[in-house]
Amino acid sequence: MSTSQAVAITGISLLSSLGSDPRQIFEQLLQGQRGMSRFPAEDLPALAQCDYGRVTLNLTELLGGKGWRHFTRAGLMACLVGRHLLARVETTSSAPIDELTGISLGYSHDIFIPSFYSAFMEKDLRLINPPLFLNLSTNAPASQISILLKFHGPIFTHTTGFTAGLEALDTAAMMLRGGHAERMFAGAVQEINEELAESFHQVRWTNTPQTLTSPTTGGIIAGEGCALLALEKNPESRNVLAWLRGFGQGFNPAPGEPGDPTAAQQAIQGALHQSGLTPAEIGAVFLAASGDACLDAAEGKALETVFSSQVPPSVALKGAWGECYHAGGAMAAAMAVLALEQQCLPPTLNLAQPEVKRLGLSSAIQKINARYALIMAMDRDQKAAALILEASGKRPAC
């Protein structure tokens, strides 16, 4: 991809268990802070022994006013993050937020929330709540952002699991390159709800507090959050935070042993190809590493293969805010923008095994000299995605 086709990132907005200000969150990550808490026992008694990367802010209060009653938690998070991003973009950009601003959002939901479930159990139509039904449509959060911010551009909801956030960013870039939009807000949102938490727990994917998430030990901690990035094709250079340079996807239709790296390798190579870069030019890696033994092994093998055992400095953020499912890739991308700007990587928490050094991980802050950063997303279904960002050129010291 030539530079003229590269798409600029002109704003970031992030909500995680660590807070709602991306720069503050990056500082907290640099300080090694963890955003973990328990569900109140009365909400989820069976899962009260597990930690989660929960957003504990009062979302409706932060959004202010009335009219949020039927919104899902994801809808609230998406609207809050969208509003924050609009405020940031409006202060830095002279381009109008017009009819050619669009949304591309990764998201999935679970329809069997208690009120709907009760209606089915009782077979009583009077128990079905029409506004709730509408809010449970998978495209509701993206639509709610558009309604709130009056965006009339293209609108996409990607529901492809763990790779959805990075796919949403690539789709947004494609809309800009194709002339379908002047500006896109792109990213992903994920809420922890009862069913998702229980699902993770039932497949024994969640961890206990004693064996916290680690790239080399099994078990994840579920998290939630939302990240949106403002993308533009022809912004004023002073507003550019970073460039989106390349994207790749991988899928292995015939997986071999658990930990098969084929999909991840294909994704990284696809992103490098689209960027016109060699592995040696990548200066930092944001791993998908969630603590799932098979996925982490696959990712590690793929990186070692592509980088010939010279994996650049890397970081796994999920020790700090958990596995945020659809939103994980986009949240990492938002932090990668700041890592490229400040030329440093936060520490990876809970590292227990010495062999992880070969993946470029460290339990301390790492200074980097990176023009390009690679962001990974790994799905449980033999699917992977990779995104490459380029620094804007402004380089404050870490």
Binding site: S108, A119, F120, P130, T138, A140, H152, K383
Partner: protein, 413 residues
């Protein structure tokens, strides 16, 4: 910039399986509407739908593995194989001969019907709390509600770009727009795009609670229309670059000349009163195809049969095309509303209209509505030379998309 062509199509609907059977039934004006059989509909005031009938439980390909797949994946595989076969890309084993082919599926609720069935079965033998836990386990072990994408990719042996788009009722056409954009920008040479949705109790309950369901039949643009009829379908199209068509010696069915997308930014369920989003999507598609409204010879409407949607859509058509608006056909009068699949079905219909110079009728049309001043091809198929056919799709949340199909240039192939 790469031109985009349709080189294969496959479909399963309530009026027929396969493009040939489907097209014959559609141009005859067959209705696929009947009593609901997918679930116990006794607790709903309306109990009709347009269901797929006689779909075999046993797959001719890899029967042991495929017969256990969820229904949405089996339907999608059948439609995809028909499309790939027509495009000359299907092996005798039922896999795609070009593994780098992209796969984009639009769906509203994915595998929800199967999950409901499992839930009801567990409910009969377990306490509700246990049933919930078991369902939770089902969700993650088959990739939540949306296992259709990886399962179809796995069984067709596809490794190219993959997307599952869940833009509610316009999801299917959104996959075509995104797939076409991938080809135009040179990121793919062949993509398999479309939509699938299986009738399920949750969605039926939702629309029932909104009082949107027609009691007997779907009557788009009729003065006495009473709402929509839910349906189910799978429709897949092979999109291909001109260079790939030429290299493989394939004659396309149609060209996908342009696409436009928009959001109403108005309300989660009500359409914009002036049809702003629909007008924007139609205009953007025309601009993208470098065509003027006068070049469009037929419109395939979203035409749900609801009061508000049909009025808004007809007014949007008048705004763009004026009093000389081209004929408008509404396939949902026959097929019902297959939600995430509907706009892919209508895209396939538009491609067939362009290829065959025939416009299927809007059935059940009896009384013109002064607020819908359009020629909706009432009840009888119509012959007309079609240079370009434009679709329109909308959804909850006001996610609009329009596609324009034209005849392939005779000199290009």
């Amino acid at each position: 910039m790469h031109d985009v062509y349709v080189t294969g199509a496959g479909i399963l609907t309530s009026i027929g399986h396969g493009c040939v059977t489907f097209w014959q039934a559609l141009t005859r004006g067959d209705s696929g509407v009947g009593a609901v059989t997918r679930f116990d509909s006794g607790w709903f005031p309306v109990q009709i739908a347009a269901e797929i009938k006689n779909f075999p439980n046993i797959s001719p390909y890899c029967p042991a593995a495929e017969s256990s797949l969820r229904l949405s994946a089996r339907l999608t595989l059948a439609a995809a194989r028909e499309a790939l076969n027509q495009a000359g890309l299907l092996s005798p084993e039922g896999v795609c001969t070009l593994p780098s082919t992209g796969l984009l599926i639009g769906s509203n609720k994915g595998d929800l019907w199967d999950i409901e069935q499992q839930r009801w079965r567990t409910q009969q033998s377990l306490l509700p709390s246990h049933a919930k836990k078991i369902t939770a386990q089902i969700l993650l072990t088959d990739n939540t509600y949306y296992g259709v994408l990886p399962r179809v990719a796995e069984h067709l042996r596809l490794t190219g770009p993959q997307h599952l788009i869940t833009n509610a009722c316009s999801a299917g056409a959104y996959t075509l727009a995104l797939g076409a954009e991938q080809i135009r920008q040179g990121q793919a040479s062949v993509v398999l795009c479309g939509g699938v949705d299986v009738l399920n109790e949750s969605i039926y309950a939702g629309f029932s609670s909104l009082r949107s369901l027609a009691p007997e039949r779907c009557q788009p643009f009729d003065l006495h229309r009473q709402g929509l009829v839910l349906g189910e379908a799978a429709a897949m199209l092979v999109l291909e670059s001109k260079a790939s068509c030429q290299a493989r010696g394939i004659q396309p069915l149609a060209a996908l000349a342009g696409w436009g997308m928009s959001c109403d930014a108005h309300h989660l369920s009500a359409p914009h009163p002036e049809g702003k989003g629909t007008i924007l999507a139609l205009q953007r598609a025309l601009k993208n195809a470098c065509l003027t409204p006068g070049r469009i010879d037929c419109l395939v409407a979203h035409g749900t049969g609801t009061i508000g949607n049909d009025r808004m859509e007809a007014q949007a058509f008048r705004t763009i095309f004026g009093e000389a608006a081209p004929p408008v056909t509404a396939p949902k009068s026959m097929l019902g509303h297959s939600i995430g699949a509907a706009s892919a079905v209508e895209a396939l219909v538009a491609a067939l209209i362009t290829q065959n110079d025939l416009i299927p009728p809007t059935i059940n049309f009896e009384t013109p509505d002064p607020e819908c001043p359009i020629d909706c091809v009432p009840n009888q198929v119509r012959k007309k030379i079609i240079r370009a056919c434009q679709t329109n799709a909308s959804s909850f949340g006001g996610n609009n998309v329009s596609l324009i199909f034209t005849k392939p240039s005779p000199h290009a192939f």
